[in-house]
Amino acid sequence: MFRLNLKIALRNLWKNKGYSTLNIFGLSIGLAGFIMILLFANHERSYDTWNSDAKDIYRISIKWGPGQEEYSSSPAELAPALKEVLPEIVDYGRFYVWDMKQRLVSKDKNENFVDHIMGVDSSWFNLFPYKFIYGDAKTSLLSANQIVLSQKTSELFFGKANPVGQSLLINTKDQYVVSGVYEEPNTPEHMEHDGFVKKSSPGDGWGNGNYYTYLKLKEGTDKEAFVRKLNQTFKKLPIVKEDQGLKEVEMFLTSVPDLYLHASSAQDPTKRGNAKIVTILVLFSSLLLIIACINFTNLSIAQSVKRAKETGVRKVLGAARSNLITYFLTETGIQCVLALLLALTIAEVGMPVLNQLMEVKLSLLSYSNPGQLIIQLSLVMTFVVILAGGYAAFFLSSYEPVKVLKGNFSRGTGSLWMRKTLISVQFIVATVFMVALMIIRQQVTYIKNQDAGFKKDHVLVFKVRKGDNRRNFSQIKERLLKVPGINAVSRVNYYPGVKAMQVIDRDFNGGKVSNLSTITVDFDYFKVMGMPAQRGRVFSDKFATDSNAIVVNESAVKKYGLQKLIGSKWINDRVIIGVVKDHIQKGMETAAEPTAFVVEGRGTNSADHVILKMDGANTQVTLEALKKVWTAVEPFPFQYTWLDQSFAQVYVQYIRLDKLFNIFTYVTLAIAVLGLFALASFSVQERTKEIGVRKVLGAETTDILRLINKSFLVLVVIANLIAIPVAYILSSNWLSGFAYRTSITVWPFVFASIISVLITVLTVSLQTFKTANAKPVDALKYE
């Protein structure tokens, strides 16, 4: 039976080549979009999944007091103290914030900058059990001069050979011996690493959260209960009873697999994904798929008249309804499989576009977890077959043979209503997509044109690698300023776009100044950045006292009530000499934070980046000259970034979203038009006789066009009425996540409605015109 079903189904598909192609093509586009997004979502959710222990490993984050931000770093002393009193903690591992710097690694003449060598506990590999190709994880980090390399880094210096026992020179002075090489795991991780060394400090005291602490708990430990116990136990520690600063500490745990998408702490060095965007993408690609299924259903039902006779005959030959449902589902199944094959091809071809947009490297053919993908795709295909074929099968198998076989069969109004509803749903989704696209675009434009509070063009940033060069910077600055085309030179640690920040709490006049972001700069910083003083003045090397002064931004003035204090002493005995406008530091989601600027000196962090402004003419020549000067100062390869490019990273994900939505919207519209086209063509066929009669009665072609269009326009108008509030709620919800956001105007809604109406009229008229324009006699002969 199955073989015959298959054969008949194929013959049917072949007979209706045109519609079969439309059917399969429409479905495959929806599927392709879905598969591509699925790959991306899988990738985003696969972070740290290589490590089967990861769900029992948690990172501690800390709020130092009520109302404070949650920080991801903690003191080194915390983990050992906790392990002593909490039996649930099996092991812990920490890495040291000051070890996270870029290093110049050399093997004889082979010199390379290596970005991510982490300084960790020797127990690190108990928590993160990388597969060692060479060496032994247990003994690899026992002494301070051992280094473990990733396979990639090892190959950079040693090729494929076993490097264990060989030595490497780091930052031109420290000798390290390679003690192991590990294979990079096949899933992405929340921390980037090219190698590991033993952390360079045993601890900086309870007051300094300079470590990132990971606890490995006993398998199956309940997180919520453990967090409660953790905080209670912590309060009873002797050190906490002595130290007032620790009294109000509250600790939180984030499991390692959650760090990438769900970590909520500030100042996090981990890679951060955006769970919201992943959800939005999965949601919208599912919508796309559902639309494609709806389209499929619509086209199938539209053809049902042709199948009605067959159904009736089969019934009187003794077919039960279940036989027929199986048969129709087989037919749908074949089409779905063909669509899947086509979709996989489209997805594989389209993947580079997505890769480029989302900055990932995904491919169907070399996918890291094919098993998962196959299971997911089988589930999706089952769902698609049922969704796309289910209604048609149910609908077709319900024909009463007596009605069909008498030959005067006409479709019941029930199916027409169903199809009209389905078309409306398609247009609801299409309109929502259009509105969403326009609002996303508006927001992206808004972000791009948002006054960042500084001038970012022709500003170059590069790192100062030697401390001496920072201390003697004024001479170097003279030399840099002599380069033609360089207008101003300064230094800074956290330039805009850098997510890290020094945040301090100080006592002042008996009150507390908390959560003050502090940026260390050099003189002329505000000249380089084009940030004039709003009140007072900015740092100048003409005033010797400025190295002990402070400049604040407007938010700081507002938060700490500094209006009257300008010109007088504030925290750390620093005089507030001026106020600058707020600038955007971390991104569009966070409003400007209260920020203070200080000149590098004793007790400040180091301003370890040179930042300079060029005049923009002959950039290439200036750059060459600059390179010559700087490599004379520091004999390392010269690496730099342009501020406008690095700052663009803070909103690059929204530009991507915009581009993705572009694709989504066009594909959805295309599928909706396909569905409309088919429904219009069938509706015209069905009404051929009516059209003929009307023409004989004196109707003109335009009257007929108006008549047919009217029934479709009603659907589109209803669809728009439903879509507009939905789109409004969705987009205002999305926009509320931004501190800097555009306002929603009426225009996206108006445009989307006009476009959907125009598309409908065009499609339906195109389909109707031939019939409407034909001689009525042909139409009347038709029966």
């Binding site: 015959l4 008949i8 030959l317």
Partner: protein, 229 residues
């Protein structure tokens, strides 16, 4: 074999009943060849549909092989289709996407006959109807008469005890129509298959053994056909 008691069929439209069949009572025995005749709108097709369980009477009792079928559930009815009833239609109603052989095979599939037996029974029937050469053709490649032959072959292959035919020759020219009628007569006489046909033609009716004349939903005449005409 068939017993109708007081069958009524009407449609109620705004409280007005329009009758299709009234007080139809009759008994049809195994091996009879009955022709239902009457003018258009007399209720012939409705009566045949009721006999074929494609429609339900509004009122009355219908026993098929001693079983009350008015209240029969779908599963039982499908069983009857599979084992006892063969349909032949005026418009042939072959499945366009199936070849001649596949069309004939279809009822056996639903009856869950084994593959080997299906093959042999289809081959038998094809042979008997002289259609072996045409077995791989599609219906639209055949003439009307040939299509109707396939239709009858399909009705016969499941070895039904009764064939219900709704104007089987209505779309055919007379030489072909005669051929079909001869076939019906032969089936009736040689294999003792009960045949009930609806027809307009006196000539066709004469092949049968009994004629039911319907007028406005009522059986006006029930006459035996003198044999040997």
């Amino acid at each position: 074999m068939i017993e109708l008691k007081n069958i009524e069929k009407y449609y109620a439209n705004k409280g007005v009943k329009s009758y299709i069949l009234r007080h139809v009572s009759t008994i049809i025995k195994q091996g009879e060849f009955v022709s239902i005749m009457g003018p258009s709108g007399a209720g012939k097709s409705t009566l045949l549909n009721i006999l074929g369980m494609l429609e339900e009477p509004t009122y009355g009792a219908y026993e098929f092989m001693g079983e009350d079928v008015v209240s029969l559930n779908e599963r039982k009815r499908i069983e009857l289709y599979r084992n006892h009833i063969g349909f032949v239609f005026q418009a042939y109603h072959l499945i366009d996407e199936m070849t001649v052989a596949e069309n004939i095979e279809a009822p056996l599939l639903y009856k869950k006959v084994s593959s080997a037996e299906r093959k042999s029974r289809v081959a038998d029937v094809l042979d008997r109807f002289n259609m072996v050469a045409k077995k791989d053709l599609f219906p639209n490649q055949l003439s009307g008469g040939q299509q109707q032959l396939v239709g009858i072959a399909r009705a016969l292959v499941a070895q039904p005890s009764i064939i219900l035919a709704d104007e089987p020759t209505g779309n055919l020219q007379s030489p072909q129509a005669l051929q079909i009628m001869e076939l019906f007569k032969k089936l009736n006489e040689e294999e003792n298959i009960t045949i009930i046909q609806v027809t307009h033609s006196e000539v066709n009716a004469a092949y049968g053994s009994r004629i039911l004349h319907l007028l406005d939903g009522v059986i006006k005449e029930d006459i035996a056909v003198p044999q040997g005409v």
